[in-house]
């Protein structure tokens, strides 16, 4: 019951926070739908280019809506002592965090599916060859990035810095998955190898191709690392000094 309550509360607050909605919903959705639509209409290989840009932008959606959103929201709640207040209830620490993560994952998953349908209808992007793999890796990617976002809060000293400290992450994820054009091709080959190790690159590849084994191992390792970091370093209150 309490877990369901924190989940409902997280979703309610997600859609009520207008400032965050602009950054964590409107911007990534505009990119994930707008760029494929543009590609479809300006490039000779319109459908292929639109498909490339859509699957690349799923990495942006995962890194912004799941990772950045949760890192910023949790840091704010930590610094405003809202997390402390939640801990004074009968909720366990796990219920508080799982509720926050689950509501973010749900919102991210919903946006990914909505964007897929939008680009399919408006830009002729073909539906994924394996819809189950698409849904499964959209979920697993959102979960992994949300957990990493929650863990990342330990590195953020105060709420004002939260957004700025997540920017490098989504830039890396966006470049790595090709959401920002062929920048990765201009970099040394070892950079490409590193980009392939990013969880968002693995999730985007699995959603597009239906490949399971490699992306699953990648995401499982990142998820385990995120959970370990959460357990070791997550702070419920701001530092006192």
């Amino acid at each position: 019951m309490s877990l369901a309550a924190t989940y409902r509360l997280g979703l309610h607050l997600f859609w009520r926070d207008r400032a965050m909605l602009a950054g964590s919903v409107v911007t990534p959705v505009a990119i994930a739908v707008g760029i494929p639509l543009l590609m479809r209409n300006v490039r000779a290989d319109g459908i292929a280019a639109a498909t490339d840009s859509f699957y690349g932008s799923t990495a942006l959606l995962l890194s912004i809506t799941a990772f950045m959103n949760l890192a910023v929201v949790l840091t704010g709640r930590r610094d405003q002592l809202v997390l402390k207040r939640l801990r004074s209830t009968r909720l366990t620490d796990a219920q508080i965090l799982v509720g926050e993560i689950a509501s973010t994952v749900t919102a991210t998953l919903g946006l990914l599916l909505a964007c897929l349908l939008a680009v399919h209808a408006a830009a002729d992007v073909p539906l994924p060859p394996d819809p189950v793999a698409f849904a499964g890796f959209a979920f697993l990617g959102a979960l992994t990035m949300a957990v990493l976002g929650a863990a990342w809060t330990a590195a953020i000293p105060r709420a004002e810095l939260a957004a700025a400290m997540t920017v490098p992450v989504f830039l890396l994820c966006g470049v790595g998955a090709g959401a920002m054009g062929p920048i990765a091709a201009l970099l040394p080959s070892w950079a490409g190898v590193l980009f392939d190790l990013l969880p968002t690159t693995a999730a985007a590849r699995a959603m597009r191709t239906g490949e399971v084994a490699g992306p699953l191992v990648n995401l499982a390792l990142w998820l385990a690392a995120g959970l370990g970091a959460l357990r070791l370093w997550f702070r419920w209150e701001p530092r006192r000094s």
Partner: protein, 293 residues
């Protein structure tokens, strides 16, 4: 029956020892006041008892349970009004209470909680629009939503208007009468004197004075204060006094008797003791005395 037991508690922030070997107990139905200046270690003690921090040394038990190790069970049966804790600013007061009802075992109905906090008229107001005192009242409503067996109140009436403060006192008394153990920290000594059965004064992380409030105050000296008449040498007075500006202050075991003697002395000389104040010892006297050590 003992509800709160603290034994040799030590709590540190890095190299700074905030609480240094504190021990006390509070029974069910008892209001225990923890007093002291800012930084004395009161809030840290409450944070350990509420399970927010683990003790570095010593043991604490709430309802016989370890608040850090058995936090879920302790939280189910306790209420916490921390000195500082945030709200979700975009939720309304009613939605905040409804949300907390979901987090509370056997909660009060929303209407009762709103009435108890005196916030019925503000039910539809967003929390960000409440005044500091109203937020404190909402805080109290949330802390008492589950009719806790142990209630931790850290500076509960700070920012409240006098009416809300008195309503809060009445609620605290009511909860204590119903059998709750209440640990209260406050800067308002009148509040502690009115509410608490027992108290401890902390200074620099240690308890410097402790005991039943009535018994402790009975052991202190009262005071008679008056404006020293012009031209009178304090040494001429029949009782020794200390001067505080132009006010003479006489400490006395029986302040009524001392006042009679001083007034008789003044009448014999055709003098008036203006601004005369006669009172027994208060917690403030004890606090200032204890904190000064």
């Amino acid at each position: 029956m003992t509800a709160i037991r603290v034994s040799g508690l030590v709590s540190r922030y890095g190299g700074f020892t905030a609480v240094d070997g504190v021990s006390f107990e509070a029974a069910r139905g008892e209001v225990f006041a923890l007093l002291g200046r800012n930084g004395a270690g009161k809030s840290t003690t409450v944070e350990v008892l509420a399970g927010f921090r683990r003790p570095d040394e010593g043991t604490v038990r709430v309802l016989g349970l370890d608040p850090a190790g058995e936090r879920a069970e302790v939280r189910r049966r306790t209420g916490v009004m921390a000195q500082e804790a945030g709200f979700f600013p975009d939720l309304t007061v009613a939605r905040t209470i409804d949300t907390w009802r979901d987090f509370t075992a056997a909660p009060r109905p929303r209407a009762e909680a709103l009435e108890l906090a005196g916030l019925t008229a503000k039910a539809g107001t967003r929390v960000r629009q409440l005044s500091g005192g109203e937020k404190r009242r909402l805080d109290l409503a949330l802390a008492t939503l589950g009719r806790p067996e142990v209630l931790f109140l850290d500076e509960p009436t700070t920012g409240m208007d006098p009416q809300a403060r008195r309503a809060t006192w009445e609620l605290v008394r009511e909860l204590a009468r119903a059998g709750a153990a209440i640990l209260l920290t406050t800067h308002y000594l009148e509040e502690a004197q009115r509410l608490a059965d027992t108290m401890a004064i902390m200074d620099a992380g240690r308890i410097v004075t402790a005991g039943g409030i009535t018994q402790t105050l009975a052991g202190l000296r009262g005071r008679v204060a008056f404006r020293l008449p012009a031209g009178v040498d304090p040494a001429e007075l029949p009782l020794p006094v200390a001067l505080d500006g132009d006010t003479a202050v006489c400490a006395a075991d029986d302040p009524d008797l001392a006042a009679q003697r001083l007034l008789g002395w003044a009448a014999e000389r055709g003098l008036r003791l203006t601004g005369l104040e006669v009172r027994t010892a208060t917690l403030e006297d004890l606090f200032l005395d204890g904190s000064a050590r």
